[in-house]
Every structure is written in structure tokens, then in C-alpha cells.
Point group: C2
Chain length 478, copies 2
């Protein structure tokens, strides 16, 4: 990128969110469009975030006894057909390949791997001694979306992890379905600094073939809810469909309980939307490959400053710093570039700083400048990074809280949905009502039934007026 | 797995290598066959090896300035057609999908990603300041093999890493093509304990579209060579085909030089073949997820022994030990199971050991039993694991050295090829000669032109008798 080529974001986040998102994604070199509609190239600046997510979450699930494996990309047609709801749910989005070999069965690229994994599980599981079986895979999946696609948020191919566990009892299964949701919440809030609402999907939004689906939802500055992760209790339906059974402690054949759960590269999209500003993306320190960038500033004393900057890079090596000592660019150009790319902290060092035995830290989140004595550097950097992480979360939390609203009457509900609030309303939980609400509001869907419920007794469904079963968040989401 | 079900390997490695391999793969739960021919399920016991390889190698290449990214699974037909040799090389193995959207162009599942990556590179690279560009991706690829498939060694889908770099100059490119090969050699020899021969492919075996291909080859106990990794100098051919050019320091448009390089899950196959024995697989300590298994042995004093075993697991936690305290199995059963699965070291503890303040270490590679005082445990375990790693390498090295042979006359050459030697012979390096040799020996191909060359002057090609250009290793490989 030559000096004259640098171009920042040309629209404001508040004024044209969609164009802003698109520019940030491309100009911060997070993703690029592919020639094929609906596919994206995940560039190193964004892939490194996925690596941080992966490495953190992988450790967490391994501690819970989950092991990683890899199942084939292609799934035979007959596998899909074994579980009727599941087949119906995914059929419209499948891509089939033209190779079939000696048999005549068609093969589809996996949209998710329940069916191919459970075919194997039916061979591997014999006794209660083989349970619990906890397997996860990190892979790519493909769903031929017809809706408008958007990098990270909705693409035909995406990367994800899918966990698939098998348990002896309903209780164990239920317990771990919730445990994983808690892990997802921790991942989003502590690592990505994105606050979420945790709850259950309504029947109409439940995963195809599941008994129930737990979910975490967040809410973006453009007023749309975003599903961040789901953890499904599959009940015994798949086990029966795939013939998974085990000899129990009672020495009789038993049908196990199953769960599946996943988060995807969509999480990267939530980071961009939640934290970015008019200057570009802001990567939360905990998922930043390079937590800081060192920019030497010299009009005189070039050698001395360069040498000091190199020493600094060594001293700060645990933050994996970028040392931007490119001669051909001016400091201002460099500042803009690293702000655009969202490096959490900038370290400036010039001749006067050297005299004063200090550096100047500049925070990406609020632009604050902090001169720091070299003797206290590592300590202060730790503190500042922690504070950036916390501030990003607090800021996003405010957006979520401000976005939340409540309605008990239809007219009020429609107005608040139109105002892009995430609206808590009493619901009868019937799919028919969800359908009507969607039609009459131009797309609002039940996002989740939050675990934190207020008193529902005496409330009437926002749409049909029948007895309400729960308070549900509605919004026109991603 | 119930007590009565355990079944060890029923054939000897020396007697029926192919059946032995197949049994080890399945009984050690490394992989399972898929219902679709040529596809495999990589089970956790093998996937964990891939994770170790990935984590080690990923660190190494990041230190060289390589960054990870992710490009789409599907590649438009027109991309393949841009580089003629490349298209011809991969066309027969492509699988096409039935989705095409608004355009009429066909999409194929990636067999390798040169074409789709270089289309992006042509947009990203503008100036010499953008170079070198070093990108790698860890992903799945698909090649519709018609040859007999075998888990890990030849499958239609496999996992790999593919590195794709762009350089200003030929010299830089050549240097790094070799540097990566050196990294591959280090990976194989130090981590997998599999010795290799490093060299260059002959023209007939060069990667489709490359100027030359470097490779590392190993030799398995069944007398077959196996390609472990390749590093290609792509020259400027792809750059020209994809319109990649940069404004040089000379302020003129220049064509860059490119490299690509990869290793795959095939490496896991080499570990199984090189180190396994009649009792199962042997995982080299450096790529073992669990470096040891602790087996408490009690006929009396159960509680005391159990407690001690738990303490031991804590003390040895850095080796990520398995504590096999299952009540329903006898020690002998456990020994067999962990030997089958290849855990490098077994730690036995019984009442007498507790009295003597010791444990007994049992090496997987040679069955040697070593009583060790608890005070010296960590130190000795380190030493023993290191020695196992070294011994496995030495043993495999002997197989390779014994397998090597040399021939300067055709009859002698044919006999040694038939004897399954990896035969060093003088060659004119012409593809026509390679073709004839392959036909007349029932499949022997030039595996590599080793970097270590003996004097070639005055030697005649083993087949055509014309002046030889180099000593080349021939063998009927995997």
C-alpha cells in the first residue's frame, strides 16, 4: 500500500451502518469478497481472531472431556432422510456433487454433521461404559443461502465448531447442554467483550430435529439482534433414527440422549459491529493477535529512536507487538493504518520520550494518551489493556440495555419493533402466532425466551390474546 | 468396550503388512471407514496427532512471517483454466457441485487452492511494499482418486496445510522454498521420528504448473517409499496467468515469483507404519496427546493404591497422563488396550511399589521395565520419553538405510526394485525414460533426486543408456 493510496472509512457508523460495515471489513483487510456470490475470503487480520477464539474455546471444552475429530465433508442422501424434521430443515440449502461412484446415492456437502456423525456413533457405542461420548469438530460447512449474504454474518460457507455428545441419561444431557451455553456466554462476554442474553428458542426457532435449543443473543448498534451460539438438546430422536443404543447398567438395551452445539465465524462479525467506530475496527485485547503497535517518531535522532524502538519491541514481546519502523511512511499515516485495523494500543516513542525515559500509550478505544515511565511499562500496559477490554464490554452493554424494551399491547409492540428495539413481550409460544407476528411487523422473530423471567401469570399473548406462557424477546435479527 | 470384547491385532506386521495396517488403524481407533468409498473418519486418537503437528508447525511458520487465512471451498471453472498445466493435472480428480446461481460457470470443490488464492493476490499486490506476501491455510481438500484408497495414505478427502508465498525476486523465492523443505524435514525427523531423504522431483513428478518441486521421501517397512511433503517453486507462470504484478523499486511493473508447499494427514499414516508393532501403534512422545498412562494395580489395599495413583496423576500432569482407574477391567486388559493405542509410557503402581516408594515405568517401544524412586520421577520420565523418541527414530532410520540400494545396470535395477529396495540409479531425467521404467518394472517411479549427489560424470542412464544427469531414487511408492 503506497503512501498516497491510504483511504479511511468514508461514511459514519451512525449514518450508514451497512456501508460502514462493508468498508471496515474490506479496508481493515478482514475479509474480501469472492467471485462466487455468498462466499468470502477470511484474511489474516480476521483469521487471527478466529484462531484466538478457537484456541481459548478448545482448551475449555477439552477440560470438559470433549475430544476433537474429523468427519467427511460429503454426506449420503439417505443419512439426511433418517431424521424427517432435520431433512426438511436443511434440504433447501444443500449443494450436491456430481460424483457418485459405484452406488447411485447422491452426496451433499455438509450443512452440519449430525447425520454422518451419528451413523458412526451407532457403530461405536455398545455399552454404558462408552458413555458419555463427547466429540467436537472444527470445520467448514456450506448452506446455499438465498437471502442477502454479508461477510461473517451470513455466508454460504462458514467455519465453525460443532460439538456432538451422547449421554446415558436425560439429566446429564440437560446439564451439559446448559454448561456449554454458559461456556459460550463466557466466550462472548469475556473474550469478545460482546454482552449477550441467554435463553431458550421458541418452538418455531428450534433446531431441526431438536427437543429444545438454548441460545445466546446479542444486539448490535444498528438495532438488530444476532444469534451468537446455540446448544441443542436433541433428545432421543436422532438416536432412534440412527439406531444408537447401549447396554445399560440394567443390562438392557437403552436409548441415549444427545446434544449438539456450535459457534461460527459469525462471531467475528459481532466484534466488528459492536466495537468498531468511524476510524475502523477495534479488536478486543483478548482476541487481538498483536495487542500493540510500536511507532517510532523521528524528525531527528533516527538511529537512536530506532534502536530504542527495537529494545521496546523486545521488552513488550509478550504482547506480540508490531514494530512499524517503515521508513517510507510518516507517523500520521501509520497511526491511521493501525487504527483502521483495530490494534488495541499504540506505543509512541520519540527523542523527547527517550530523554524523559518514557513512552506514550494511545488507546484505540477512546484515543486517550498516557505517558508512561519505562520502569513501569509492563505493569501499566497490562492495566490499560485490561481496561480497554472492560470498557469495550461496558460500552456494548449500554447499547444492549438501551436497545431492550418491553410491550404488553400490540400497537406499542409494533411501534417498538419499528424503532428497532429488542422487545420483551408476553407470548403464547405457538408457532402460528410467531408466523403472524413476523408477517405483520415486516420480519420480527422471537429471538429467545430469556432464562431471567418476570412473572407471566395473568399476561396475555401480545398477538392472539390467549394466555401467555413466557416473556419472549422479539426483533428483526441478522 | 466390555471386558470380553477386547481384540488385539490378529496378524503380524511382517507377515501381512496391509492387513496389519488396516487392523491397527481400526482397533487403535485412529480412523474408521466412511460409508462413502475413499473417505475416512479421523477419530480423536489420530486427530490429536494432527493437532500436535499443526500446533508445532504453525508456530514455526509464523516465526517465518507466514500468516493464516481461509479461502473458499468452491473454485470457479474459469480459474482452473488460467494455468494450462495445472488445469490438466487436476481436471480428472475434480468434483463439481450442482449449484451455480445466476452465472452459468461450474464450481468445483478445491483439490488445492493455487487458483483461487492467486486471483485474490492479483488484487492485493500492488507494490514491492506488499511483498513478500506469505499466506497459509489449514483446510480440507478433495481429489476424486480412482486408485485404491487407504486411511491416511490415500483418501479422496484429506486435511492439510497449504502455504502460498509471493516474492520480489527469484533468489528470495528459491531460498524460502528450500527453507520450508528444511522445516518439513525437521518436523518429520524430530516430531514424528520418521527419517527422510530430501531432494528434488524429476520433471515427470513435478507439481502441475511448477518450475520445480522439492520433496522429502521416507521408506516404510513394507518396502514402499512415501512422499511426506513438497515445496514448490512456481516460478512466474501462475503470476503471469493470474495477472499478479507489482510496481518495483525500479518504479516499473514487475512479475513476482511464487512458491507453494504442503503436508497432509498422510503424515499420520507414516507414523503408524514406521513405528507400529504386532501389539498396535506406537505414538512418538512428541506428538502424543497423552504421553503416559497410569495403571494402579491392586489385589489388596485398593483405597491406598487408588489414592496414590491420583497423587501420581497430579505430579505427572505436565505429561497429560491417562489415569486408568476403571474398576471393571483387570490390569492385563488395560495394558493391552494402551499398548494397542500406542501410549509411549506406562506407569504401574501397586502395594509393593508404595512400600518401596517407587513406581514401575514400562516403555511402549521395547517393553523394558524400569523401577523408579518417586523422588526422581519427573527427571527420569523426561529422560525415558526422550530416549523413546530417539530410539523410534533410530529404528526407523535403520529400516531406511537397509532399504536403500544402488544399481548401475538395468537387470540389477529391476531385481532390486522387485526386492522392494529404494534404488539409487543414474538417470537422464527425461519423462520418457521415467515412463518406460514405470511400465517395465510394474510401477517404479522416480521418488527424488537427492540433494546429496555422488559423482555422476561418466554414468549412463539406467534405462536409455544416454549420458546420465543425476542419481535418482526409484521405488514403487504409496
Amino acid at each position: 500500500m503506497a503512501q498516497e493510496e491510504q483511504k479511511g472509512i468514508t461514511v459514519k457508523k451512525e449514518e450508514d451502518f451497512s456501508e460502514w460495515y462493508s468498508q471496515v471489513v474490506q479496508k481493515a483487510e478482514l475479509a474480501d469478497y469472492s467471485q462466487i456470490k455468498g462466499f468470502m475470503i477470511i484474511r489474516p487480520n480476521a483469521y487471527s481472531i478466529w484462531e484466538k477464539i478457537r484456541s481459548y474455546f478448545d482448551k475449555r471444552i477439552k477440560a470438559l472431556g470433549v475430544r476433537n475429530a474429523y468427519f467427511p465433508l460429503l454426506i449420503p442422501e439417505s443419512f439426511f432422510k433418517k431424521e424427517a424434521e432435520h431433512a426438511e430443515g436443511f434440504e433447501p440449502e444443500l449443494a450436491w456433487v456430481n460424483r457418485t461412484d459405484d452406488d447411485t446415492e447422491r452426496l451433499a456437502i455438509r450443512p452440519t454433521s449430525e447425520t454422518i456423525m451419528y451413523d458412526s456413533y451407532s457403530k461405536w457405542i455398545r455399552s454404558h461404559r462408552d458413555l458419555p461420548l463427547r466429540i467436537n469438530q472444527w470445520c467448514n460447512v456450506l448452506r446455499w443461502e438465498v437471502k442477502q449474504t454479508k461477510p461473517f454474518l451470513r455466508t454460504r460457507e462458514f467455519l465453525w465448531q460443532e460439538g456432538h455428545c451422547v449421554y446415558e441419561t436425560k439429566e446429564e444431557c440437560e446439564k451439559e447442554v446448559k454448561l456449554i451455553l454458559d461456556e459460550y456466554q463466557r466466550l462472548c462476554e469475556r473474550m469478545l467483550a460482546v454482552p449477550v442474553i441467554a435463553g431458550k428458542k421458541t418452538k418455531s426457532e428450534t433446531f431441526a430435529g431438536a427437543e429444545y435449543s438454548l441460545c445466546i443473543e446479542s444486539y448490535m448498534p444498528d438495532g438488530k439482534a444476532i444469534q451468537m451460539g446455540t446448544s441443542h438438546n436433541l433428545g432421543q430422536g436422532f438416536a432412534k433414527a440412527f439406531g444408537i443404543s447401549f447396554l445399560g447398567k440394567d443390562e438392557k438395551p437403552n436409548t441415549p440422549w444427545q446434544s449438539s452445539w456450535g459457534v461460527s465465524t459469525r462471531l467475528i462479525g459481532s466484534i466488528i459491529m459492536a466495537h468498531g467506530d468511524d476510524n475502523g475496527v477495534i479488536i478486543p485485547p483478548k482476541v487481538a493477535e498483536n495487542k500493540l503497535v510500536i511507532v517510532p517518531i523521528y524528525f531527528k535522532d533516527k538511529e537512536k529512536v530506532s534502536k530504542k524502538a527495537k529494545e521496546l519491541a523486545k521488552k513488550l514481546s509478550k504482547y506480540n507487538p508490531i514494530l512499524d519502523d517503515r521508513d517510507e511512511y510518516k507517523p500520521g499515516f501509520k497511526f491511521n493504518e493501525w487504527e483502521l485495523k483495530g490494534i488495541p494500543l499504540r506505543v509512541e516513542i520519540g527523542p523527547r520520550d527517550i530523554e524523559k525515559k518514557q513512552v506514550v500509550l494511545v488507546r484505540r478505544d477512546n484515543g486517550e494518551k498516557v505517558p508512561v515511565k519505562l520502569t513501569k511499562l509492563n505493569e501499566i500496559v497490562d492495566e490499560v489493556l485490561e481496561d480497554i477490554q472492560k470498557s469495550l464490554f461496558e460500552r456494548a452493554k449500554k447499547v444492549l440495555e438501551k436497545g431492550k424494551d418491553k410491550a404488553s399491547e400490540w400497537k406499542d409492540f409494533v411501534k417498538k419493533i419499528k424503532d428497532k428495539k429488542i422487545v420483551l413481550a408476553p407470548s403464547c409460544l405457538e408457532p402460528e402466532c410467531d408466523e403472524i407476528i413476523k408477517d405483520e411487523t415486516g420480519g420480527a422473530t422471537p429471538r429467545c425466551v430469556p432464562f431471567e423471567q418476570k412473572k407471566i401469570e395473568g399476561e396475555k399473548c401480545i398477538k392472539c390474546g390467549k394466555e401467555a406462557k413466557a416473556w419472549v424477546y422479539f426483533n428483526n435479527g441478522y
